[in-house]
């Protein structure tokens, strides 16, 4: 199975209206080439799952500026004024999720869990419309899985089988998004031969990865 494709070939799998999970934290660890290709192709009505909407000129922030997205599911929009403005003008739907809850919801989808119970958000507006479950006298919110059609990842080192190594602070949501999408595309910063990443050091096993681009 050859997973290596051009960015153009990879983009054929991305359609208007899809739910797309993108790795990165304020743009660090985000696959910028794939992000740019989505803009270039003019994909519309994306529901974006990401930690944040980054900056207007960086990461998925560019999707907001270019109006590729109809909804964002993120923990933070404060660094991208365009997100707030489109939200206020009701051009963009924004679902704010506490960062730790977002990580667990994505992980739950990837791990086949029906949900997780978190104390985060109890006593806040995050409670609204959610089931509260008491365990041993303490209240928790039942938070449900979030799954994507496509995940776009940035790998620092990727082997030709699809094993990924994330350098330093680029791991963030990449390894989680990898597990929670129907189709997973990784943008390799450095592409190496199979076996060059020590099997003990692999952070996303190849079986999660469908397409590798450079």
């Amino acid at each position: 199975m050859n997973k290596i494709k051009t960015i153009e070939e990879a983009l054929e799998y991305i359609k208007d209206g899809m739910t797309i999970a993108v790795g990165g934290f304020l743009g660090v660890g985000t696959p910028e080439k794939l992000v740019d290709a989505v803009i270039q192709k003019g994909i519309k009505d994306i529901t974006l799952i990401c930690n944040d909407t980054a900056f207007p000129d960086k990461g998925v922030g560019k999707w907001v500026v270019n109006k590729n997205v109809k909804k964002v599911i993120v923990s933070h929009i404060g660094t991208n004024p365009e997100t707030g403005q489109q939200m206020n003008e009701k051009e963009l739907e924004v679902e704010l999720v506490p960062q730790g809850t977002l990580a667990e919801r994505v992980r739950a989808a990837g791990a086949g869990l029906g949900g997780i119970l978190t104390p985060t958000g109890i006593g806040t507006v995050i409670e609204e419309k959610k089931q509260k479950i008491n365990v041993d006298g303490k209240d928790y919110l039942l938070e449900l899985p979030i799954k994507a059609d496509v995940a776009l990842l940035k790998g620092s080192i990727v082997d030709k089988k699809g094993n990924i190594y994330y350098n330093k602070a680029t791991k963030n949501f990449n390894s989680l998004m990898a597990t929670a999408a129907e189709l997973v595309i990784v943008e390799a910063e450095k592409l190496v031969e199979i076996g060059e990443i020590d099997p003990s050091d692999v952070m996303t096993p190849s079986i999660f990865v469908d397409i590798i681009v450079e």
Partner: protein, 221 residues
């Protein structure tokens, strides 16, 4: 009463730095809380947690020595100290939510006498989002609010928060340029007062009722 903006910040962050203990795992929020790192007492070993995915946050890099793969949770170039460890967001919040973080220091828009905190949105005006704050406040063993006592002349320490909460009843300590307040079962207890500040000034600047410690001290800063 301290008037100088920089001196206010210095008083707040120095006092909070003195609160940290050897071996503490600490998360410092964006903005003023970040400055606490500059005043950590000699001889104590603190591990700074950066919620974007590492423990062992170091000082800012020198210009030209930035590593694009190392930033702090505010996306500023950062460094790591020897013995640091990087991980994904799930482990980052396992540390936060699982009770493995000793102290979190955050700013606030409002805090009240029940320990409620509001710091993530002003409806209709500003909605940056909660980021990791809701998890930090719920998960950390000790929650310290670092902020100026008032904003545009209005008290930020209220009987009851009016803005949407970040978390309910989780704040342990409030440090401002006027003093140190502990959140107790019986409300707020003023335990320390800032230099150059009178008790009357603190009480006047505080909407919530303040109990005054019998052992009231002057902040050492």
């Amino acid at each position: 009463m301290i008037q100088d903006k920089n001196r206010k910040r210095e008083v707040i962050v120095k006092r909070i730095a003195n609160e940290l203990k050897d071996g503490d795992v600490v998360n410092l929020g964006i903005g003023m809380p970040t400055l606490v790192a500059n005043y950590i007492p000699e001889g104590i070993d603190i591990m700074l947690h950066s919620e974007n995915g590492f423990i062992g946050l170091g000082p800012s890099p020198k210009p030209g020595e930035e590593d694009k793969d190392i930033v702090n949770a505010g996306a500023q170039p950062a460094t790591h100290i020897p013995g640091a460890a990087y991980f994904d967001s799930s482990m980052s919040f396992t540390i936060i939510r699982g009770g493995h973080l000793d102290v979190t220091v955050l700013g606030a828009l409002q805090v009240d006498q029940h320990g409620n905190l509001a710091n993530w949105m002003i409806p209709g005006k500003m909605v940056p989002g909660m980021g990791g704050a809701m998890d930090l406040v719920v998960g950390a063993k000790k929650v310290i609010v670092a902020m100026e006592h008032t904003a545009k002349g209005e008290s930020k320490i209220l009987e009851k928060c009016t803005l949407p909460l970040t978390a309910a009843r989780e704040v342990d300590m409030i440090v401002t340029e006027m003093g140190v307040m502990l959140v107790t079962q019986d409300g707020l207890l003023l335990t320390e007062i800032a230099p150059e500040t009178t008790l009357e000034e603190v009480i006047a600047a505080t909407e919530a009722e303040l109990k005054i410690s019998e052992d009231l001290k002057v902040m050492e800063v």
